[in-house]
């Protein structure tokens, strides 16, 4: 199962990818912003984990564009961000994000959110 990990911080991408490997997901592809993520997204990607604040294209903008594509309309999108005020969370939800993790996060929270979004047979 392929994960697309989108974050402008190389440190955060590495932490997320390592966390995914630890819970059994080793197939990952990385992008540094929303534009790069759109270029790398294809139907083989089954789960997206994205940051919000990024250059060129933010995580919410990326999610909106992704939702408008036939191959991205239903892929689970998990936002992992430092933004945590109510208005921001609602904005992310309106953009099409399926769940939300506040940085700094623990691997347990990441696993819980992924499990909740994946079909029972996917993991």
């Amino acid at each position: 199962m392929k994960f697309l990990v989108v974050d402008d911080s190389a440190t955060m991408r590495r932490i997320v990818v390592n966390s995914l490997q630890r819970i059994g997901f080793t197939d990952t592809v990385e992008a540094g912003d929303g534009q790069e993520a759109l270029a790398k997204f294809d139907s083989s990607v089954k789960f997206v984990i994205t940051d919000w604040n990024m250059p060129n294209m933010s995580g919410t903008e990326f999610t909106k564009v992704l939702r408008s594509r036939p191959d991205g309309a239903h892929v689970p999108v998990l936002m992992v961000t430092a933004r945590s005020v109510k208005e921001d969370i609602l904005t992310a939800m309106e953009a099409g994000v399926n769940n939300y993790i506040v940085k700094p996060f623990t691997p347990a929270v990441l696993k819980e959110k992924i499990d909740a979004l994946l079909p029972a047979t996917a993991a």
């Binding site: 911080s9 932490i15 966390s19 430092a82 933004r83 945590s84 994000v97 399926n98 940085k103 700094p104």
Partner: protein, 225 residues
């Protein structure tokens, strides 16, 4: 980028200076009035009284301008100062967490070595220690998330400095309208892309903030995956 408050300050300052200019012009005119009628000593008290009133008005406007400038700038600078303090504290917390995890990992390596050198090595216990060791290493990795958050805090601080610089330039230009503006703008810093950081980014109370996100996503049905 100049905030509405900064524009207001600039407007007030410019209005004040125009008032000063106008009054000086009037005073000059009053000292060389109608050539037919030369002012006499009897006009002097009225001129001085009028000048005094206008100078007081000008000083009041200047004080108001200074107060507006001071309040908006001080507020921003205080918030930036707080952010920088938080960066220091987040860095220190992460360093301590990583050091603690290193200490525990080192102890586990010692325990594994002791098991290996025992006449009858306890392989089950060694397996458990290796699992805990992996957890510790993973904990260290997680602690490095502070780097992303402190980068956002530093970007916020940097953006405030750029904004303050712009305000100072605006004020400087106002007082030197005929000066060489290019000299004033030559020292500007690169503006930080506002979209790349959250001004409220923090390492504090992650559990509480996560609980709020969970509550919102639970109470309002999120889009189905």
């Amino acid at each position: 980028m100049t905030s509405p408050r900064a524009h207001e300050v600039l407007y007030e300052s410019e209005a004040t200076l125009r008032l000063v200019d106008h009054e000086l012009h009037e005073l000059r005119h009053a000292s060389h009035p109608d050539p037919v009628r030369q002012p006499g000593l009897e006009d002097l008290p009225a001129i001085l009284e009028r000048a005094n009133t206008q100078i007081l008005n000008v000083l009041t406007r200047l004080r108001e301008t200074r107060a507006a400038l001071q309040s908006s700038a001080m507020e921003k600078l205080q918030s930036t100062h707080d952010k920088l303090k938080e960066v220091t504290s987040a860095t220190e917390d992460a360093a301590i967490n990583i050091m603690d995890a290193c200490d525990r990992a080192s102890q586990m390596v010692d325990e594994l070595e002791a098991i290996d050198t025992a006449p009858e090595p306890d392989r089950t216990k060694a397996g458990e220690i290796r699992g805990t060791l992996r957890d510790e290493i993973f904990l260290m990795m997680g602690a490095l998330q502070f780097q992303d958050i402190t980068t956002q805090q530093l970007n916020h601080a940097s953006s405030v400095l750029v904004e303050m610089e712009q305000r100072l330039l605006d004020v400087a230009k106002l007082f030197d309208a005929n000066g060489d503006a290019s000299q004033l703008t030559g020292c500007t810093f690169d503006a930080i892309d506002q979209g790349t950081f959250d001004p409220n980014a923090t390492t504090h109370n992650a559990e509480g903030r996560q609980a709020l996100a969970d509550e919102i996503f639970t109470s309002i049905k999120a889009p189905a995956a």
